[in-house]
């Protein structure tokens, strides 16, 4: 979880959101191909490319392949993504030729709700699809990112409203309602391997695929994470603690965030 960082942890203050973004960026390996969602995943992926993973290949669903934006894109269709891409292709092509056959190593997603089996909901809150309590934006590219990428990383802020036992609607499948859907559906990708939050890291337990606490953010107690999780959260036997950001990571992250007005809410 800490990556191969030679630098020492910072001694200055940092926020839990900054720790989350740094932890998410460390989860991306250099030279891998990453399909990036907008918001938190985009910030983390761009941080990774500026720190330990300069050869990370970024793909956005707007059709930009191998994009190297100098500033954080405000949306998935930001002009900076097209101007700095190896190639810009149409939307049918990005999904059919590039995502669908399994050319992408990592899908990097956010969401409004995630459940104990890593299923993501970005569609509706409430039991009645026709008459929802809250209407969310919908699926976007996520359902096929979740099934076709080699593996999936999820980054979300921790709260009982967001981390629920069963999502109201499966927009993008993790391990299904019972933890065993991927094998049954014969899905090519492994599914979610990590959920990175502002409190720590959850990972699917071997066998059951139930999300289990495997790492804590610095200064966070297990009870805090349990209180912010809507199911009885189990804790891994070997519970790690994340290395705080290095001075370099913090500096680059803050510079990066200063390049965009507001890029984290969609």
């Amino acid at each position: 979880m800490t990556g191969e960082l030679s630098e020492t942890p910072t001694t200055s203050e940092f926020t839990s959101d900054e720790m989350m973004t740094v932890a998410a960026s460390r989860s991306l390996n250099d030279e891998s191909v990453c399909f990036v969602g907008i918001g938190l995943p985009s910030t983390a992926a761009n941080l990774a490319r500026r720190t330990h993973a300069p050869e990370l290949v970024l793909i956005y669903e707007s059709g930009t392949l191998g994009t190297k934006p100098q500033r954080l894109p405000l949306s998935i269709g930001d002009g900076v993504l097209a101007e700095t891409a190896d190639s810009v292709v149409g939307v049918p092509e990005i999904f059919n030729y590039w995502l669908q056959p399994g050319r992408v190593d990592v899908g990097f997603l956010g969401g409004a709700q995630v459940d104990r089996y890593g299923n993501i909901n970005t569609t509706v809150i409430g039991d009645d699809y026709q008459d929802p309590e809250v209407r969310l934006p919908g699926a976007g590219g996520a359902p096929e990112i979740a099934t076709s990428c080699g593996e999936v990383l999820i980054v979300m802020r921790h709260s009982p409203r967001a981390f629920v036992p069963d999502v109201d609607f499966i927009t993008s499948v993790g391990y299904g309602r019972d933890g065993s859907a991927r094998a049954r559906l014969g899905l090519p990708g492994r599914g979610p391997v990590k959920v990175i939050t502002d409190l720590g890291v959850l990972q699917p337990e071997q066998g059951t695929n139930e999300l289990t606490l495997t790492g804590l953010a610095p200064g966070v107690e297990v009870e805090q994470v349990r209180a912010a999780t809507g199911w009885p959260l189990r804790v891994a036997e070997e519970l790690g603690v994340q290395q705080p950001p290095t001075d370099r990571e913090l500096r680059i992250l803050r510079e990066l965030k200063a390049t965009v007005g507001n890029g984290e809410s969609s």
Partner: protein, 273 residues
């Protein structure tokens, strides 16, 4: 051959009450002004299609133009939710809004099938999701060669496809580049099409990577400089990010929205008379 028309004439002629209309654009090149003209023309009962309904769809929905929305992601990109869209779904304001919901891959393939003259498209999609339970244009099909079960989506063939492009020439050949989304497929899938452009030029300059739609594949072209504002037209304009943020506040409140509708859409027409 495409005819070069004024925007109001083109919308009056091509868009009818009850039509299925797709105004496409993927954050870039969004045909905002054409959408405003549809509101001004008072069109009703439209089935609106769009992969990424954003501010212009929020405005059309809030103005009561739409009966149904076919889409895959509805939001204010970089800002948050669409409040008129939410109000229509959650409270039927100003009129009830039926929805037909897909993933991006599904919507893109529906346009591809529509453009190809096929009844449906095949993809590896929707596996494990709850979407097929609620959307009857998602089904499955068995591969006749391998026996594998795959997702199938019905072709999307709008009555009218509307896009914004950088340029057209006087003959109505259209050229656009940068993030080109699903716009080519939208025009080819639609029975009639309208392309608004930043400028009409004598001859289209060479432009690497550009999509060209020949005049004979387009119904009408209208010259509308800044027609994509607040989105952008690469090479012509920058995205007006403040507008998207301001829309969040305007659209949260029905009265503020009504006021916007009156001052930004209806008043300019009255004063132009």
């Amino acid at each position: 051959m495409a005819r070069i028309l004024q925007l109001d004439t083109a919308v009056a002629e091509l868009v009818n009450d009850g039509d299925t209309v797709a105004l496409e654009g993927f954050t870039h090149l969004i045909p905002m002004r054409a959408g405003h003209e549809i509101i001004r023309a008072g069109r009703r009962d439209l089935t609106l299609c769009r992969m990424t309904p954003d501010v212009i769809y929020d405005q059309l929905i809030g103005a009561g133009c739409a009966r149904k929305l076919v889409f895959s992601w509805g939001g204010n990109p970089g800002v948050g939710s669409l409040h008129r869209f939410r109000d229509a779904i959650q409270h039927s304001w100003p009129v009830p809004l039926e929805i037909e919901e897909h993933s991006h891959a599904g919507m893109a393939n529906r346009y591809v099938a529509g453009a190809s003259g096929l009844p449906f498209a095949v993809l590896r999609g929707y596996a494990g999701t709850d979407l097929p339970e609620h959307t009857d244009t998602i089904s499955t099909v068995r591969c006749p060669f391998t026996g594998e079960e795959l997702a199938a989506v019905a072709a999307l063939n709008p009555d009218v496809g509307i896009i914004h492009a950088q340029r057209a020439d006087r003959a109505g050949n259209v050229q656009f580049w940068g993030i080109t989304g699903v716009q080519k497929e939208t025009v080819l899938a639609s029975a009639r099409s309208l392309v608004t452009v930043e400028e009409v030029v004598d001859e289209l300059p060479e432009q690497p990577g550009a999509v060209v739609l020949p005049s004979w594949a387009v119904t009408a072209v209208a010259e509308v400089p800044g027609g994509a504002h607040p989105s952008y037209a690469q090479g012509y304009s920058e995205r007006d990010n403040a507008y998207y943020q301001e829309w969040d506040a305007i659209s949260r409140d029905r009265d503020r929205f009504r006021e916007w509708l009156d001052t930004e859409i209806h008043e300019p027409e009255r004063s132009a008379r």
